[in-house]
Amino acid sequence: MGNSFAMLMDGFQTAFTPTNLMFGLLGTFLGTLVGVLPGIGPALAIGLLLPVCLTVNPTSALIMFAAIFYGAMYGGSTTSILLNTPGESGSVITALEGNKMAKAGRAGAALATAAIGSFVAGTIATLLLAFGAPWMADVALTIQPAGYLSLIILAFATVGTLLGSSRIRGLVALSVGLVIGLIGADLQSGALRLTFGNMNAIDGIETVTVIVAIFALGEALYLASRHTLVRTEVLEMKGKAWMTREDFRRSWKPWLRGTAIGFPLGVIPAGGSEVPTFLSYGVEKALSKNKDEFGKGAIEGVAGPEAANNANAAGVLVPMLALGLPTSATAAVVLVAFQSFNIQPGPMLFQTNPEIVWGLIASLFIGNALLLVLNLPLIRFWVLLLKIPTHYLYAGITTFALLGAYALNNSTFDLQVALAVGFIGYLFRRFGVPVTPLIIGVILGPLAELQFKRALQISQGDWNILIAGGFPKIIYGILLLVIIGPLVWNFKKKFAVNK
């Protein structure tokens, strides 16, 4: 504990150098920008910037990415409240009450409770991250390959089955991701898989290309195919983005409850920010004394989910840093960013690269504070961005995505891959298949194979090792609960309805 505190102070020293502070500031700005703009989220933004940042020093680049991560969440709430089209998935719930508040002329209060709530939740959750992640890393050091494999499989199951409306569709996305992850030479034997004589494919498919293409190109193709582009109306914001004493009184408990719901659900891979924001909304609705206001613009319905969203984002960083297991698309792309600097997140990270990881955590605190200071006064500027015509917005995003895919290796092969993956992204959207499990599959598939092989090498080929020992048994037990629990729940509900 004391050690973590001292390391965190060192981290602040790293984060407070002028260069890193500047990158943090740039990140908060870019993050808010991509959060505000529909059609471009934090995962895509970091993916696009990655090729550009390979020449920058790793600490600064990662600080910027972390700031984008947090900034996008602030920006997303602005779009939800004023446009009723969530800029990113965690803000879907915010739109429910936030947009109603804006329509009733209370946009200022909605934006303020979202921003201050995000700050409160982000700060508490980052503190929990600072002390929780090293602890988890210590525990993780004792995990054997078989145990690690069980954790990856648990992440597959939760990300695959909890995201989106249909379990089987989540698993479909995961399986396609696993297939993409197979492409290229096997790391240990050098055997070629799914390359079909193409020399470019031997090194495998770039994860960044997959992420950029599935978000940017898939979205552009899908929106174009729907031809009925409804231009939604941007609501005017009257007065200042600030809240009254009464608003504060009604907001502070939802902020804290949102934090309490969001953080743990980020740490245990529960599949993105939809679940915690939805839960928080439900809790606030159940506890509120003003139940009749829900659906018409209740401030609790903005305060709780926004806090849950930010706390969740910090929670997701815990397994990403301490175990090397990303459970959201954005965490996945941050992991890829670490890897492209030849840094491997995981149990050893806190020992091998303390200055980077503590600088990163410290910069999360700074970024959070900067976001609060920057966002409320600048809100009118962000609103202007919402007036960019859709056709220019997507033309820009598409062209930039292609640039990002090309600049990584200066190879047109990556662009061909991007077009193919973009088409997969289209099909997924068309048939209601979530894309995040695909990304998790691409990243964790090869890691799962590696741990699987290591485990069997230790046991000289005896498959029993995969479930030997207490740790894998516990994880597989949780896995059964995750899979069977909802089935029982659904069955009960159906039974109740039939009766």
């Binding site: 020449t55 698993l171 399986s175 552009a220 859709t390 056709h391 292609l402 048939f431 209601g432």
Partner: protein, 168 residues
């Protein structure tokens, strides 16, 4: 109405079947893999076979779901919204814009490829102010090109700029 729904189901059935086939395809590719001599305890074929089986299994599961009438909800729709067929024409325009970018990039250089792509996507999204769009496309491409080559020192194919500014 009934016809429309079955048409939607048909499309999804093709999608689900192709996933099932993808699994079989991966298994086939794995079966003809050149396994280097002296491979370790775990063959490089084991994991791909597992992925292949998993893919076919969930593909089969999806086929069953679709046949039972549980169709996917397209993103942005709410369950129960009436089904609207895809506009393949606008989609083809976007795909062509991307495709042209890929082809033109190393032949004509970044600025031209990006101008064509930006203009094509804007056109696909319904913009018909050709001159204004062309101007914005070209300006966008130019700004990005110089920002990357000069500002960030990232090489992009220069095309006709080659003689003018050297290698950027």
């Amino acid at each position: 109405m009934i016809l429309k729904i079955s048409q939607q189901a048909k499309g999804e059935l093709v999608f689900a079947s192709s996933l099932f086939l993808l699994g079989i395809f991966v298994a086939w590719d794995t079966s003809r893999m050149d396994v280097p001599q002296g491979s370790s305890i775990v063959s490089p074929q084991t994991f791909p076979y597992m992925v292949a089986a998993f893919t076919s299994l969930v593909g089969f599961g999806l086929i069953m779901q679709v046949l039972r009438g549980r169709l996917g909800t397209p993103e942005g729709n709410h369950p129960g919204d009436s089904f609207v067929g895809a506009n393949f024409k606008t989609m083809a325009i976007i795909a062509a814009a991307i495709g042209l970018h890929v082809i033109l990039l190393e032949i004509a250089g970044y600025v031209i490829a990006a101008t064509v792509c930006f203009f094509g996507v804007a056109y696909g999204f319904g913009s018909r102010k050709y001159l204004k769009d062309l101007g914005i496309s070209f300006a966008f491409a130019l700004v990005v090109y110089f920002a990357f080559t000069i500002g960030l020192n990232i090489n992009l194919p220069s095309g006709f700029f080659e003689g003018v500014i050297g290698n950027g």
